[in-house]
């Protein structure tokens, strides 16, 4: 390797970023060299996203320095980022989206090379992906959108990719596709590329990272080669003493009531039950939930008491009201309960929001701040609070834990179990097996149909995988 090759791609010296009084990042020193695969972990609001924006040139640091040796800026240095919130243009085709980030594609007939480049990149990372480069992005399921975004990140765009930042890249991918990605990351780093890998799935971080950086409250609290960390040690460094491996074995079987939900597909749920939907991502679970929810909620003669509420996984699309404050985002579900002669009781609204803020632990000083001032995980907590604060007896959750940190997850699990004992029914689609194992009953989906119904002793990762792949045996 030449000297230039082994020089760092990016160096941060005491870099800090403040937003008004908020110290999002408080003096971070870091350098990334070719061949590095950096795992970046930390709970929500620890400053991971801010660090990403500093490295990719999106923000200028408030203090300290960022240098890209041998290049003028991040783009020239070959720094790419793939974001947690999808940043594709949904109205354009897959190939056209490549054009957005690659201004090198010009002249008549630019589409042909664009198609070729994106198909090659997809083939390289996700062999057998089956994505048409001429498909409009909004016709693709969310997992395929994420695959496209990752492929664009790694694709040559005028400059070759040298450092790719992946922020929760596997959150919408099922296990098989995620494995393909991890394999690609390893080979990319082995051939002299660098990756910053941000994930809440610690297993994946251990699998790919050569070095792990733990971020807490805007500072690096630990930076060591992966081999020197244990899972438990890593979780402790992040500041959450989570019960990794102790297992959340369901407590004494809860008393569950009569059947409250029954769909044509065969999905049933009893009052007070937590029903899981599992299987590979994009096999009809989200559609089944959406259909169920719409059938229960879109009748305009139904009266004021909602039969069910929906917790969205795709926050920007289905969940957040981006222009509103945290308060208004949360209170919209219970305005009926606190109105007097059709007028909202402001004091009651405020009190109820403050109470939920405390119960669910939303990290903000003031609930009248805009909801977008929160980190992704905290926005998700707002959505949970919105759903739980309503009177609806059924809560439908469409992969709600995407990009939520370990500590928050434990809090929410406890809250869900608590609400279920009070008689609420939860329908919970999740791409993470660990979450599905929290449920009282699990339906495994395959190709849009239910391939198996599992009950407690059988809710294990093996049985779920079995049912996801072998329909005949399960039925």
């Amino acid at each position: 390797m030449s000297e230039h090759e082994s020089a760092p791609i990016v160096t941060l010296t005491d870099a800090a970023k403040h937003f008004g009084p908020v110290r999002a990042l408080d003096g971070v020193s870091l350098s990334v060299r070719p061949g590095d695969c950096l795992g970046l972990v930390g709970h929500n609001g620890a400053g991971k996203s801010t660090l990403v924006y500093l490295v990719n040139g999106g923000f200028a640091p408030s203090a300290g320095e960022i240098a890209f040796p041998g290049a003028a800026n991040a783009a020239e240095a070959g720094v790419r980022s793939v974001f947690q919130e999808l940043s594709l243009c949904p109205n354009l085709t897959v190939a056209e989206n490549l054009r957005i980030s690659n201004r090198g594609l010009t002249g008549i007939g630019w589409r042909r090379p664009a198609r070729k480049v994106i198909t090659e990149s997809l083939d390289r990372i996700f062999p057998g992906h089956g994505i048409d480069p001429d498909a409009e992005v909004d016709t693709l399921p969310i997992a395929e959108r994420q695959m496209v975004e990752i492929a664009i990140g790694f694709a040559p765009r005028g400059t070759e990719a040298r450092l790719v930042i992946l922020d929760e890249p596997t959150s919408s991918l099922d296990a098989g596709i995620a494995e393909q990605l991890l394999t690609h990351i390893k080979s990319f780093c082995a051939s002299g590329g660098a990756v910053i890998f941000i994930s809440h799935m610690l297993g994946e971080v251990f699998q790919v990272a050569s070095r792990i950086i733990v971020l807490k409250d805007g500072r690096i609290v630990a930076e060591r080669p992966t081999a020197e960390f244990s899972r438990q040690g890593l979780v402790e460094a992040m500041g959450h003493v989570a019960a990794e491996g102790t297992g959340q074995a369901a407590e004494a079987v809860r008393h569950t009531g009569e059947i409250v939900i029954r769909t044509e597909q065969g999905l049933t749920a009893r009052a007070g039950e937590i029903v899981g939907l599992s299987g590979l991502a994009g096999h009809g679970q989200a559609q089944a939930l959406a259909k169920l929810f719409l059938s229960q909620s879109s009748n305009w003669r139904a009266g004021h008491d909602p039969k069910s509420v929906f917790v969205a996984g795709d926050r920007p699309r289905d969940g957040i009201l981006p222009l509103w404050s945290i308060l208004k985002n949360m209170s919209i579900s219970f305005l009926r309960q606190i109105e007097r002669w059709g007028v909202v009781d402001r004091a009651a609204e405020r009190a109820m929001t403050e109470e939920w803020k405390k119960r669910i632990g939303i990290r903000t000083d003031d609930v009248t701040n805009p909801v977008l001032s929160l980190s992704g995980g905290n926005q998700q907590k707002v959505l949970f609070a919105r759903a739980l604060a309503s009177t609806a007896p059924v809560v439908i959750m469409d992969d709600p834990m995407r990009g939520v940190d370990v500590g928050t997850k434990q809090d929410v699990y406890a809250m869900i179990r608590d609400e279920a004992t009070r008689g609420r029914t939860f329908l919970w689609y999740s791409t993470e097996t660990e979450e599905v194992c929290q449920c009282d009953r699990v339906f495994v989906f395959r190709n849009g149909e239910i391939s198996a119904e599992l009950t407690p002793p059988n809710i294990t990762e093996e049985r779920i995988l079995e049912a996801s792949f072998h329909m005949q045996e399960a039925s």
Binding site: S81, F83, L88, N91, L92, E96, R99, I100, R103, L105
Partner: protein
């Protein structure tokens, strides 16, 4: 996905064909070179104004000033461009730049386009009245010749519509630059993350809208030979209806230039059709609205079916 939601252009084409067939049934004499030109020649400025509106809708904004703007251009064309061509051209160029600046300001200051353009519509209207307090002026001879040219086989109006659709399709759908512009409507954050300036792109979109607005005003004067400060006020709503009728969406950067031109033709034809029905003019605006609702309902039904399938 259903056939109709995959090929969004089909529904506008079918609407136009049905209306055209009905018109020919009512008035067989319209089925001629001369008849078609009469039916459609006023559609040319409307099609251009519709394209201008489409540029704005494409970047998730809406333009409530296009009608007043086209009127102003018409007044400038019938006076300055006729009397002092160089000065006239300079004024028109300045108007296009003003439009581009309006787009940049809307994005840079994060203002709602609906408010800014509504305000600007009074500015354009005032300027138009200032230039031409009472109806009058004269069309430049070359413009008159251009708009009354008789090409072989197809009347001018049809040739012009095809040309406008082709040029804007290449510009907006095929070219890389047009793709980026549509991307602004789809996800402006993705565009700025890719290192492009959304403000500059919006200025371009508004500038293009200004350009097509200027062309619309000139075409209109070429047809009418004189101008009036209120000549094109109804274009604002017609152009929005035309874009939507042609398969465009209010948000999300989903537009179709070919569809927009077809939408403009459909709206023009609807007016003639209603006259052939001997419907009193009092009812015509309402009936035009009814036709619009009918087509949009059809689109909704098909797209619902598409989602269910």
């Amino acid at each position: 996905m259903s056939f109709f939601s995959r090929y969004r252009i089909l529904l506008p084409v079918i609407s136009l064909a049905v209306l055209l067939a009905a018109t020919f049934y009512m008035q067989p004499r319209a089925m001629s070179y001369f008849g078609l030109n009469l039916l459609f020649n006023l559609a040319v400025p409307i099609a251009l104004a519709t394209i201008a509106q489409m540029m704005i809708l494409m970047v998730n904004d809406i333009d409530l000033s296009i009608g007043a703007f086209v009127s102003l251009v018409a007044c400038v064309t019938a006076t300055f461009l006729n009397d002092a061509p160089l000065l006239g051209l300079l004024i028109l160029a300045a108007l296009i730049l003003a439009y581009a600046a309006m787009g940049a300001v809307i994005d840079a200051l994060d203002l709602p386009a609906i408010v800014v353009t509504l305000g600007m519509s009074f500015v354009w209207g005032g300027l138009a009245l200032f230039i031409l307090p009472s109806p009058g002026g004269a069309a430049p001879g070359w413009l008159r010749t251009l708009m009354t040219v008789k090409p072989p086989f197809m009347p001018m109006a049809v040739v012009a519509a095809i040309l406008i659709a082709f040029v804007t399709h290449m510009l907006i759908i095929r070219s890389g630059f047009g793709t980026v512009l549509r991307g602004v409507g789809g996800n402006a954050r993705a565009i700025s993350r890719a290192g492009l300036s959304v403000t500059r792109l919006k200025a371009w979109a508004y500038g293009l809208a200004g350009l097509f607005g200027v062309l619309a005003g000139m075409a209109l004067v070429g047809l009418t030979t004189a101008a009036d400060a209120n000549i094109a006020l109804r274009y604002t709503l017609l152009s929005i209806a035309g874009v939507i009728l042609g398969g465009g969406e209010f948000t999300g950067g989903k537009v179709s230039p070919t569809g927009a031109v077809i939408g403009a033709l459909t709206l023009t034809l609807a007016a003639s059709f209603l006259s052939f029905l001997r419907l009193s003019p009092d009812w015509q605006i309402g009936s035009q609205g009814a036709i619009l609702i009918l087509v949009l309902t059809a689109r909704l039904v098909f797209s619902r079916k598409g989602d269910a399938a």
